[in-house]
């Protein structure tokens, strides 16, 4: 079962501020999702190799050749708060 403390922890890692009501709603939804996923545990996977991919492919590469980048204006246009050539983000506190 997912607890309120779990929700607060994950929210902090994701830099999200949740109100009490929101946190409770998230807890309920996450609990429902996890309960659904838990159904998979009912499967008998004895003798099945763990895998991270369903497709039987390995070694998919591209050659080291330069492709055009997106124009800066187009990229910056998506920024909530552009600053000339740069993206502006809230102050980073390191100490």
């Amino acid at each position: 079962m997912i607890s309120r403390a779990d929700v607060d922890h994950v929210a902090r890692l994701a830099r999200l501020t949740l109100s009490d009501a929101e946190a409770e709603r998230m807890r309920e939804q996450l609990a429902a999702i996890l309960a659904y996923i838990n159904k998979l545990r009912e499967l008998d996977v004895e003798g099945v190799e763990p895998t991270s991919h369903a497709v039987p492919l390995v070694n998919v590469f591209r050659e080291d050749e330069v492709q055009p980048s997106l124009p800066r204006e187009a990229m910056i246009a998506n920024a909530p708060e552009p600053a000339g050539e740069l993206f502006r983000v809230p102050r980073i506190i390191e100490d």
């Binding site: 590469f61 050659e63 990229m75 708060e81 809230p90 980073i92 100490d95």
Partner: protein
């Protein structure tokens, strides 16, 4: 400074994590250019910005470079490996996760030989080598403390980064610096990284702990970030040894934490730990299929390995009869080793070639800067030409030094400068005899001393003749003329 800890009865235990930007043309997972110094945010695309619906694709050359490095460090290249997502929310990562490797790195279990104090060699173990993507660069407005906001340039986000973690086997700040030097030399030889620490192509974090001499358990370790030069690695670790020894002496406990090296102020300071909650929630990157590097791929990479610095050093000692320290300097960078061999190849003797490079060339060209050595104003062929002029007696060794400086300034060859400036050694015995007579006539005491057979007087006369001819006299010929003259009197 390790002397301080030694005196206090502590053993220093250091491990280094080195991040090297690979010299690929494009990023790890997209075709954006990796050129350093481009205007901010001009080298990004929807893939490296993490736009929904985009898919990363692995750069083949990055895998080749990683494999090449792993083999040079004597690592086992894993037959299968995969990428993983490392989650953390920080504005230097547009995706809010970094594609890295976790449980299945590219390679493991290697080692690197370093020179240690007293002339010995130690092999420092390498735990693992893995590939990941670099992050963007944060620029702060004003000082960090007062900045109202931070600015981000994402050109660097997605550049291939190779992380190599050593075993905690380095036992002093000096050894840590030696490890980093040897590490850099190998990467530069391999051509997988330009090794430019100022531009951040090579970055280093260190783990350091102290324990009572003889203790078997490791002490609490502290991680130091931001070590961007050989000197700073050593200084930061020296500071930390003293800090930790003093704390332990005072009966304090060392806190496991991340500290930032402040090169300007010369100390490490604690970074607030809650900003770096180590809860990365790794899981296999679903957008990238695993790698299975077969034996043929690995063996091809092994066959393509160039001679590495230490092997080159041994060969230089044997083949050219150089001293160990000379060979070490000449093989300190691949470009310099190539320069030396090109000079010898152009006809210069191995001994004078080494002397000229070590004493003169390295005065005008920084030996650890590959590009600067390749662009040297005095080419190997020109240096060999200069040495030839000395060998055949056209110019004196003394004049040769000033010719070298002129060559470095003008990029001309030695013969051109010597011819134009009339620097050819005076080997005309008639002309020299005349100069000798003038010198002796001007200094009767010298004449008397010389006649009484004083060696110092002969040397003084040769010196004055050299001076009178602006260094162009052939000193051996002057001595012969003096002997002849003395025998006649």
């Amino acid at each position: 400074m390790s002397a301080v800890a030694t005196a206090a009865g502590y053993e220093v235990v250091i491990g280094l994590e080195v991040h090297a930007q690979l010299s690929t043309r494009t990023k790890m997972f997209c075709g954006c250019s990796t050129t350093f110094g481009a205007p901010p945010n001009t080298q990004t695309c929807p893939v490296c910005q993490g736009m929904p619906g985009t898919l990363p694709v692995i750069n083949r050359r990055a895998i080749e470079f990683g494999t090449r490095t792993a083999l040079a460090f004597d690592c086992t290249v894993n037959a299968s490996c995969r990428f993983a997502r490392k989650h953390y929310y920080y504005p230097d990562m547009p995706k809010n996760f970094q594609i890295s490797q976790y449980e299945e790195p590219l390679a493991e279990h290697g080692g690197l030989e370093i020179d240690v104090a007293g002339g010995g060699v130690r092999r420092i173990g390498i735990q693992r080598l893995h590939l990941e993507e670099d992050v963007g660069k944060l620029v702060h407005e004003g000082t960090l403390e007062t900045a109202p906001s931070s600015l981000v340039d994402y050109n660097r986000a997605g550049v291939p980064l190779m992380e190599t973690v050593s075993q905690p086997e380095l036992s002093s700040p000096e050894e840590a610096a030696a490890y980093l030097r040897a590490f850099r030399a190998v990467l530069v030889y391999l051509g997988v990284c330009d090794g430019n620490m100022e531009e951040g192509s090579l970055r280093c974090d260190a783990n350091i702990s102290l324990r009572r001499r003889g203790a078997t358990e490791l002490g609490t370790k502290v991680e130091i970030k931001n070590l961007n030069s050989f000197r700073n690695v050593q200084r930061a670790l020296e500071f930390e040894v003293i800090r930790q020894a003093a704390a332990l002496d005072a009966g304090e406990r060392i806190v496991q934490e991340t500290r930032l090296w402040d090169a300007d102020r010369g100390y490490t300071r604690s970074m607030r730990s809650k900003e770096f909650a180590h809860d990365y929630r790794y899981f296999p990157e679903p957008d990238l299929v695993p790698l299975e590097l077969d034996l043929a791929f690995v063996e091809r990479a092994r066959a393509a390995l160039p001679e590495l610095p230490r092997a080159g050093r041994r060969r230089f000692v044997e083949q050219y009869a150089l001293r160990g320290a000379e060979a070490a300097t000449l093989t300190g960078s691949r470009a310099l080793a190539e320069y030396y061999e090109a000079t010898v190849g152009a006809g210069a003797g191995p001994r004078p070639a080494a002397n000229w490079i070590l004493s003169e060339l390295l005065r005008v060209v920084p030996g650890d800067d590959e590009q600067a050595v390749r662009d040297s104003p005095v080419s190997p062929a020109h240096l060999a030409g200069l040495i030839r002029l000395i060998d055949d007696g056209t110019i004196s060794g003394k004049i040769a030094k000033s010719v070298f400086d002129k060559m470095a300034a003008s990029r001309e060859d030695a013969a051109t400068i010597v011819g134009r400036e009339g620097l050819t050694q005076v080997a005309d015995s008639g002309a020299l005899a005349l100069v000798i007579d003038q010198v002796l006539a001007a200094d009767p005491k010298l004449l008397a001393d010389w006649k009484s057979g004083k060696t110092a007087a002969e040397n003084a006369i040769v010196g004055q003749v050299m001076k009178a001819t602006q260094g162009k006299a052939n000193p051996a010929l002057v001595r012969d003329l003096l002997k002849e003259k003395l025998s006649k009197t």
